[in-house]
Point group: C2
Chain length 406, copies 2
Amino acid sequence: MRINHDGVTKPKGFLACGRYTGLKNKRRDLAIVFSEVPANFAGVFTTNKVKAAPVLRNLEIREKGGKVQAVVVNSGNANACTGEQGLIDNQTMAQTVADTFNIDVDTVVTASTGVIGVPLPIDKIVEGIEKSSTFLTGDRQGAIDAASAIMTTDTVPKEVSAHFMIGDKEINIGAMAKGSGMIHPNMATMLAFVTTDLAISTELLQKAMSESTLDSYNMISVDGDTSTNDMVSIMANGMAGNEEITEENEDYEKFKEVLHVINMELAKMIVKDGEGATKLLEVKISGAKTKDDARKMCKSIINSSLVKTAFFGEDANWGRILCSMGYSGADLDPSGVSLEFKSRFGSIRVLEDGVPLDFNEEIASEVLKGSAIEVLITMKDGDASSIGWGCDMSYEYVRINGDYRS
Amino acid sequence: MRINHDGVTKPKGFLACGRYTGLKNKRRDLAIVFSEVPANFAGVFTTNKVKAAPVLRNLEIREKGGKVQAVVVNSGNANACTGEQGLIDNQTMAQTVADTFNIDVDTVVTASTGVIGVPLPIDKIVEGIEKSSTFLTGDRQGAIDAASAIMTTDTVPKEVSAHFMIGDKEINIGAMAKGSGMIHPNMATMLAFVTTDLAISTELLQKAMSESTLDSYNMISVDGDTSTNDMVSIMANGMAGNEEITEENEDYEKFKEVLHVINMELAKMIVKDGEGATKLLEVKISGAKTKDDARKMCKSIINSSLVKTAFFGEDANWGRILCSMGYSGADLDPSGVSLEFKSRFGSIRVLEDGVPLDFNEEIASEVLKGSAIEVLITMKDGDASSIGWGCDMSYEYVRINGDYRS
């Protein structure tokens, strides 16, 4: 397995483009990912009770279990809380793709991201889609344009790819994502689009994606909010030519492993580019009672505004970490907790079996200067472990979110 | 009933003082509240699994159900995550009060607030307690000194009092609280100390306080973190001379009503003085399916960093409010939600039965300039309602919490 940063056009038979339609000021705002042949489809969607129009429609598509051939995404407007008109606009968006590329409307997946509660400027989107057909390409340009077009407050496009062998067939996986604000570990936590030329049944594609999501996208947080629009999707078009995977054999395990690496990589890229983030936090808990307890504590730590601001201030305020573990809902014995901070500048142990160590604050400050910090927590409650990714909270976070719409 | 801002020394037989012991730089850091006669005691404590030493000891005192005569509080150090030594130091703190005032150690309630994980400077506290005996007074000075001594990042002391009649007896209630960071609606949410000269059984005192807490301290949030040290306590010394309340009669209801007003008032004062807060938010939900759903949605809104930063930016981004209702865990039909903002500058309706209104952004901006903003939400799921209080999130919040320990 090799990890690269090619995007959604890396697997065979996938084309993409990113266009400017005028939803966003001076930036690309419409992405289309197209498969030359119908592909199996799987998705994981937000658990928010307030679901955006595209999420509602995609849930129906997933329910039917049919193939899909295109994904169309606009940024700049979430088409959420837009009532009946939002559903109509979303259907128009899908229909326009179907008409433009001469495919069935039920094979078109839609996604939107941006401001909530403002009617979708559907005319601009329709015009954009109609004009996009000649720009679809299977090269790097198509992928990078698409990855750029789905960005909102992201500062960099996010792409990951990998390839591996099944027999003599090379299998490729490509992916792009957008993240930034509203990233929360309560479900598929942002927009991520994965493509692969693997041949695999819809059922197993869904299983692999759902399971991987639990320990990747669901273990990151920027600000604790679960969006109305979050979704992770994958299209598998089978063009690699391998024998279709229909059971959980060795090939399935191989795919699942690579897919999980891709998802974790994207998840980390999203957190690293969190709104106003200056530091990537990687929280590793071992020795927890159950996997669920371990996940809960990891999530609670990376969600705490007090922990996040302390890291922004490069302050070794480990008490806030223990505190957030305590209110996570997880079962824990505080007297068995040990805690260490680690970065490229070194490491420092601050708590041993629940007892604070008289550590050197200067060394701690030095360690916390790192732009990527590991928080290593060992416990004595059991054998379960988990990893979560978060970022610090800065002045910039407040500035961006105090003035997002204007 | 009249609401005033006298503090804990207002009820008969209560004395207090606030002293400087050197835990905090140049500010008072030790408060003692003393009842001339043993008083019935009730308390509500943090649900955080990581409990500070004083919380653990107070839980035992409440469990025993005996009377208490003094509360001693230090600020500047939380005595949380301090291991075995923390328990010993906390017991020493109680024992010193017992020795100094010649009362039983089991009648001394303790509380600490401040930085977590640093050993309590117990020598300074012991010296402070020993020197404090001559400063205990039953006048305003004692109350205000005590209220000042429990502050951490609070910018103003918080005191509320009220009196009402039972027969020909005047009953007084006094209270003080500290809040600011780490205020979260997951339980008794900060430090609050209530005194009353009412005669009432311990059982009913606990019942009234527990029930009131659900809709007062538990409905506020500054940053979503539930502290290791949160507690609300009340002492009732019976010196008003009323016949002891031992059943849920009219007198009980009268007391409960006044107590709830006191608690709500303190809760609002805490939120208003949240770290870096510039605006008080009052979220009112009606028409929810159940009381629990209504509370969940109120809490979710006031906990959302995205909602809080939007208010800081005076941005009518109501979509984030609907979004946070959606992931609150409450059952809701988004298509029945209407939303209005209101302040002393006017009001503006932005959502009607789930459909966004084409509102005037200038008027909305004007309304959101208010320092106290009501968020009025009506739903069509049922008859339940709830109110929650929060504050905006500013640059100042990040500054304070990025540099709390130093």
